[in-house]
């Protein structure tokens, strides 16, 4: 398996953004519960849930593809429902249970949906993949993956510019069949 370059530091979990802000930028105290862990953060009030996860908590699995709510790459779950984290302000998610791709399966195992994506080659560059998987898992949980038509429609908020759509559907069908 390819390794990430060891020499590089991951995104600084402390976050460069919590320092240096002048007083006129309102700061907010936020407690976020992400993947069953509580984090206390002091954030620029403009920080989105996506940036809080990526830049402040070092959870870079959720991706930024548009920052405009139009691609689904940033999809995470809040209380089991999918949200596009780029359109959510972090401060509004206090007290909600956030799940990201990193929290989908514990202890280095793969969630059945993750395994199905791997088996079906349901990605190429992989950039949309965390969002696709979070959407797919929510879709199944919401009971909206009943038909092929439903899968096609309800997965259409997650763009895949590499064009893995047929394989994404196959992966979801397969994960469903596995129960």
């Amino acid at each position: 398996m390819p390794r990430n370059r060891g020499a590089m530091t991951q995104v600084d979990a402390a976050g460069a953004t919590s320092t240096g802000a002048a007083p006129e930028v309102p700061q907010v105290e936020v407690t976020l519960t992400v993947n069953d862990t509580e984090h206390h953060l002091r954030l620029d009030s403009r920080v989105t849930l996506l940036d809080a996860l990526r830049d402040h908590l070092g959870l870079t699995g959720a991706k930024k593809g548009c920052d405009q709510g139009a691609c689904g790459a940033c999809t995470v779950m809040a209380d089991g429902k999918r949200v596009v984290a780029c359109l959510a302000l972090a401060a509004q998610y206090e007290g909600r249970r956030i799940t990201t791709i990193e929290g989908l399966a514990p202890n280095g195992e793969l969630h059945p949906m993750q395994a199905a994506f791997a088996r079906h080659d349901a990605f190429q560059c992989g950039y949309c993949t965390p969002g696709q998987i979070m959407s797919a898992v929510s879709l199944v949980a919401e009971g909206r993956a009943g038909s092929e038509e439903d899968i096609r429609e309800f997965m259409s908020g997650n763009l895949c510019r590499c064009g893995a759509y047929p394989n994404i559907r196959a992966a979801i069908r397969d994960a469903l069949a596995e129960g």
């Binding site: 991706k63 548009c66 994506f117 510019r161």
Partner: protein
């Protein structure tokens, strides 16, 4: 040559070796990297398309919270131009003068402690422009036209005589719009200087090009620069060049003395990293009643930026695809005040094939001949310009097997004759002859005492499957299980690799990896050449085979030993070897090096009342030479087809004709194919190993896209009787 017995490593659909990283969110793309003390950049863009910056007021931005620097052309140091590359000149170095050449041009970069602060401060920069009237239309008579930009115009036979001899002549004007690559990954650069040495994480398809360019622009040695791109969020050509924002991020990092991250916004992705340029094409085809082509003329006109280059020989496909004695192809480029175009998946071919294969469909219709039959009748067994047999060409099998799988024989040729309820049904097809492209590449292979291998090269895997197929190929070449091979890429400190582009990387890299592995086996044989304890003593490379982690004499599996035994007995931790590949000469060995070939078969449904168009089925039959991994190769073809569906039906970058502003620079407005637009598809691979190189592969990254637009348009004609000559095919064209 060493005999390979572990052939199972190659071919079958091994899951991607990087799949676990990608499905768990652990794969780190350039914008996932950070450093302690990282600061963030945002860009300011021109809001006019032509003119000069008369004044630029950065005072409010400079005093905004968190701001550490604001750099403009007034404060930027003089920087050198980037080098000439295999793909032509580098884009112009930014911030070197006050001229505005296109709307959206970067004119300032702001660095602040947080991305929010940087974006806010960028909005405070005030610019006073001296405007000139921009040139924005390819038909503008004032615009400079570059004739025969690449010296590829062709003229064979006598086209006038060919048309005079024709019983039927078809053709017309075909147009394709600007399309924007829009990889999902926002292109990003993280730059960190340490004295004169520099580390850059970049969304590039070519780390060595980034290194060479930054070294030239900043006048620092290449050896001090490391460019990393282990994962890239797609590219489709957008990551081939070192665009101005990369240079600006590196400049900003040097200026503030801290690591800087720049993540382009989605709107910036439309103006900063190239696009497929629009084309206006005139094509004419003449043929006899019997369906023999007598003449083709194809003229292409594309837009290009004022002071940059783009390789887009749109008409060339008509010179090399069919056996026709009289063919003239001509390309021109028009210089406009637009962001520079660049390669986008299937550059030139994607546009040119639409005109050529649509016109052939028209001809088949006029002749009352089956479109597949027409193509078979004019099949070229030899490269039409070189007069040499192809190094491989299974296009005939593409047509025949594709037609068979699709059920083409069920097609009633009369337009509008096939229905499914209220839907009109159309069958359409197109042929594809993709050009060959390959450039030099290097790789290094090491075998460790524990019997595992490391193989590496500074290539990228932009979703193409390179990690996986090179792991498989290395395993095959060394006779190891794939689990014992670690293939690594995406680091300019590794041996030189060319760009992931032009469908050329798999062959270039595969042959370099193959050479490195063969040289490594030679190293092992060298170690034991006088070793009385070795059953391989004195064996030559062509006398041995590899399998199961062992080298043995060919035909005598018990006369051999494992890599581990050799290393252990000789007190070695590992052995390494380098390998390189050079492209085959175009006419080397009396053959014309072939790219991939393909045939696309498409079924569409058209709602005649609402103008709705749906692609219901696609069969792609592809000759990609030797296929290293059926699963990832199939994904390449499927993904290309999805890109082709986007080109056919949705994608159009709309530039405001007055201001030069791109009016739809978001994913909400620039439509790409979504899940519901894409049917399940069938892909079949035909043909076998290509003869031009030892590894026998041909690239399959782009051939999947080409031909889709024509096949869809031809299917629309079959369904409705309407010939669509302008992409994308929208509802208004079908009502």
């Amino acid at each position: 040559m060493t005999t390979l017995e572990a052939a199972r490593a190659v071919g079958p659909g091994l899951d991607r070796v990087d799949a676990p990283m990608k499905v768990t969110g652990k794969a780190h793309y350039p914008n996932d990297f950070g450093y302690p003390g990282l600061v963030h950049a945002a860009l300011v863009h021109s809001t006019v398309a032509a003119g000069r910056i008369r004044g630029i007021d950065t005072s409010a931005a400079e005093t905004a919270p968190g701001v550490q620097a604001v750099i403009t052309h007034l404060t930027a140091p003089r920087l050198e131009p980037g080098p000439m590359t295999l793909l032509g000149a580098s884009p112009p170095t930014p911030f070197q003068d006050d001229r505005i050449l296109h709307h959206g041009q970067h004119i300032a970069i702001v660095v602040a402690s947080s991305p929010e602060q940087a974006r806010h401060a960028a909005s405070l920069v005030r610019v006073d422009y001296e405007r000139s009237e921009p040139l924005l239309d390819v038909h503008d008579p004032r615009a400079t036209v570059v004739e025969n930009p690449w010296g590829l115009d062709s003229d064979r036979g006598d086209v006038d005589a060919g048309f005079a001899a024709a019983d039927v002549v078809v053709g017309g004007t075909f147009t394709t719009p600007d399309n924007t690559n829009n990889p999902l990954g926002l292109m990003s650069t993280v730059a960190s200087w340490n004295g004169d040495s520099l580390t850059v994480h970049d969304s590039t398809q070519w780390p060595h090009n980034v290194r060479a360019t930054l070294a030239a622009v900043f006048k620092v040695p290449e050896s001090g620069i490391r460019v990393l791109a282990p994962y890239v969020g797609g590219g489709f050509g957008a990551g081939l060049r070192v665009w101005p924002h990369v240079i600006l991020t590196v400049l900003a990092a040097r200026q503030v003395g801290k690591p800087v991250k720049l993540v382009l916004t989605r709107p910036e992705m439309f103006t900063s990293v190239g696009h497929r340029p629009d084309s206006v094409q005139q094509i004419r085809i003449g043929a006899t009643r019997a369906g023999d082509l007598t003449a083709i003329t194809h003229e292409g006109l594309s837009s290009v930026a004022m002071e940059d280059d783009d390789y887009e020989p749109v008409s060339l496909c008509s010179a090399v695809s069919y056996a026709c004695p009289n063919v003239r192809t001509q390309d021109r480029q028009v210089r406009l005040n637009i962001p520079c175009p660049g390669s986008m998946r299937g550059p030139a071919e994607g546009q040119g094939n639409f005109a050529l294969e649509s016109a052939l469909d028209e001809l088949a219709h006029e002749l009352g001949m089956d479109p597949v039959e027409l193509r078979l009748r004019n099949y070229c067994e030899e490269h039409p310009l070189l007069g040499l047999p192809w190094s491989s060409k299974a296009l005939r099998d593409c047509y025949l097997q594709g037609a068979e799988r699709f059920g083409w024989s069920r097609r009633d040729p009369r337009p509008g004759s096939m229905r499914d309820g209220r839907w009109l049904v159309g069958y359409g097809m197109a042929g594809v002859s993709y050009p060959h492209y390959q450039v030099p590449c290097q790789a290094r292979a090491s075998l460790h005492r524990d019997g595992s291998a490391d193989v590496r090269s500074a290539a990228t895997d932009i979703g193409t499957g390179t990690y996986t197929i090179m792991t498989q190929l290395s395993a095959e070449q060394l006779g190891l299980d794939v689990s014992r091979v670690h293939f690594d890429l995406g680091d300019s400190d590794m041996p030189y690799a060319p760009q992931a582009g032009g469908s050329g990387l798999t062959s270039a890299l595969g042959n370099a990896v193959g050479a490195a592995c063969r040289n490594l086996i030679r190293e092992f044989l060298d170690v034991v050449k006088d070793d009385a304890d070795s059953p391989l003593r004195g064996a030559a490379p062509d006398e041995v085979s590899v399998s199961g982690g062992r080298i043995h004499r060919t035909g005598a599996p018990d006369q051999g030993e494992s890599y581990t035994d050799i290393l252990t007995r000789h007190g070695l931790e590992e052995l390494s070897a380098d390998g390189r590949s050079t492209p085959p000469q175009p006419d080397g060995g009396g053959m014309a090096t072939a790219g991939a070939f393909g045939a696309k078969f498409v079924e569409v449904r058209v709602d005649p009342d609402l103008g709705l168009l749906r692609v219901a089925r696609v069969v792609s039959a592809i000759d990609g030479g030797r296929i290293l991994n059926e699963k990832t190769a199939t994904s390449q073809i499927v993904g290309g087809t999805v890109g082709g569906i986007g080109q056919a039906m949705f994608e159009e970058t709309a530039t405001d004709p007055g201001t030069g502003r791109i009016a739809n620079a978001t994913f909400g407005d620039y439509l790409v194919a979504v899940n519901a637009d894409v049917p399940d598809m069938e892909v079949i691979f035909v043909g076998g190993p290509d003869r031009a190189t030892p590894i026998g592969t041909k690239g399959v990254g782009e051939v999947g896209l080409v031909g889709v637009a024509a096949a869809v348009a031809n299917a629309v004609h079959h369904a409705t009787g309407r010939r669509i000559r302008s992409l994308p095919i929208t509802i208004d064209q079908l009502l």
